[in-house]
Subunit: 202 residues, 2 copies
DNA sequence: AAAGTAAACTACTCGGTGCAGTTTACCAAT
DNA sequence: ATTGGTAAACTGCACCGAGTAGTTTACTTT
């Protein structure tokens, strides 16, 4: 039971874990500090010793989840590889991100609040940076290299990701469909690449 | 002020309008019956005379919004028109739906709750039917007619709509970006059609 | 008489605090 | 190494003020 962790640290972890569950299940408003404390098997007073308020606890959870998948989708432009190959890699790595549990949890927790309060959204997005940045930079490079038609890279990125998320993100988030299998992911990625290049490749 | 409406009916409309605002701003949990009644300039008791509970009022709002745009996106397959032409029409009409205020309000109100509680989602979706049905039937027809590659129509529909929603729905819902102008809509629709047909046209 | 009204009221739940008493962690002295 | 002491952390409980959904009452308007 010791696990080489001071008891205080154990409690803290228990609180964070319980808070994550609670927020995930009930959202920010629905979550209750009493229920959360009970779930963590910790006195409510202890919760408040670690985190002064519900808001601060919530932001800690969000930040924790953000950091947990800081390995962004980094795609680098290689002039001597085919666009197909590079984009396919990007698509698969995006799919892996979408399928990862921590990323999904983060979205499940935050997006519901985003819809209601945009100011919360912006603060989190600032902290998160742009995980899509890699792709839109890649597109810019490909355009400069004369291999893609001139197009707003942000817009094209949205299209590409939208194509993937349409089948591998929104249905799972909104109607908890199951995440596509690896074979299905392959098809989704290939379709996205084919469609995208059919439109923009020179 | 009379407008040939019985006073009871006027109050009812005021309540529905106020409830819509309240739910839209604060979500189901955040909305308060007291605040709602004040907003409608109506006694709280009157609210409860019309709607026995908060849940029932909420479902009435959702149903009302659903019905308000019952004109679904109906696209019919015409064997002697070009696929481009038909799909473009469908895309534009989808964009018009996405841009319509009542449709957007419906989503703003419901999707946040959907993310949290899938069972609520399913009941509403049942009542809503499938606004995408038109398109997926169209795709099936085009496949049977030998003009599109064989593909799961549901999947292809998701891709097509995902392409459009990526720029004309999710950004507006989550980070309240402004809705694209008519010219931008035209571009979005054309891009979606071009990409889609480049992938699936025979 | 029917419907609407304000206001008080019930029976909660919520986030957050205060406090007395217990447990843990850690450091020093034996 | 065991002891003892101290400071910090944890506990449980009562409590606060505010706010919730929903009800009741007593009164007014139409």
């Amino acid at each position: 039971m010791d696990k080489s962790l001071t008891l205080t640290a154990q409690k803290r972890l228990a609180i964070l874990a319980a808070a994550q569950e609670e927020f995930k299940e009930k959202g920010f408003l629905g979550a209750s500090m009493d229920s959360l404390a009970k779930r963590a098997e910790v006195s409510k007073r202890t919760v408040y010793n670690h985190f002064p308020s519900k808001d601060i606890l919530f932001h800690n959870i969000v930040k924790e989840l953000c950091d947990s998948f800081s390995q962004a989708v980094n795609i680098e432009y290689h002039p001597n590889k085919t666009l197909e190959q590079q984009l396919l890699t990007a698509a698969m790595s995006e799919l892996q991100l979408l399928g990862s549990e921590c990323f999904f949890d983060l979205n499940r927790i935050t997006l519901a609040e985003f819809i209601r309060s945009p100011e919360l959204a912006s603060s989190t997005i600032d902290h998160l940076g742009q995980q899509t940045d890699g792709l839109h930079v890649w597109i810019q490079h490909a355009i400069n290299d004369g291999r893609l038609k001139s197009v707003d890279p942000e817009y094209a990125t949205q299209q590409f990701l939208g194509l993937i998320k349409a089948t591998a993100f929104w249905p799972q988030l909104l109607m908890n469909q199951e995440f596509p299998s690896v074979e299905q992911q392959q098809i989704i990625a290939e379709d996205a690449v084919l469609m995208f290049l059919a439109r923009y490749k020179i």
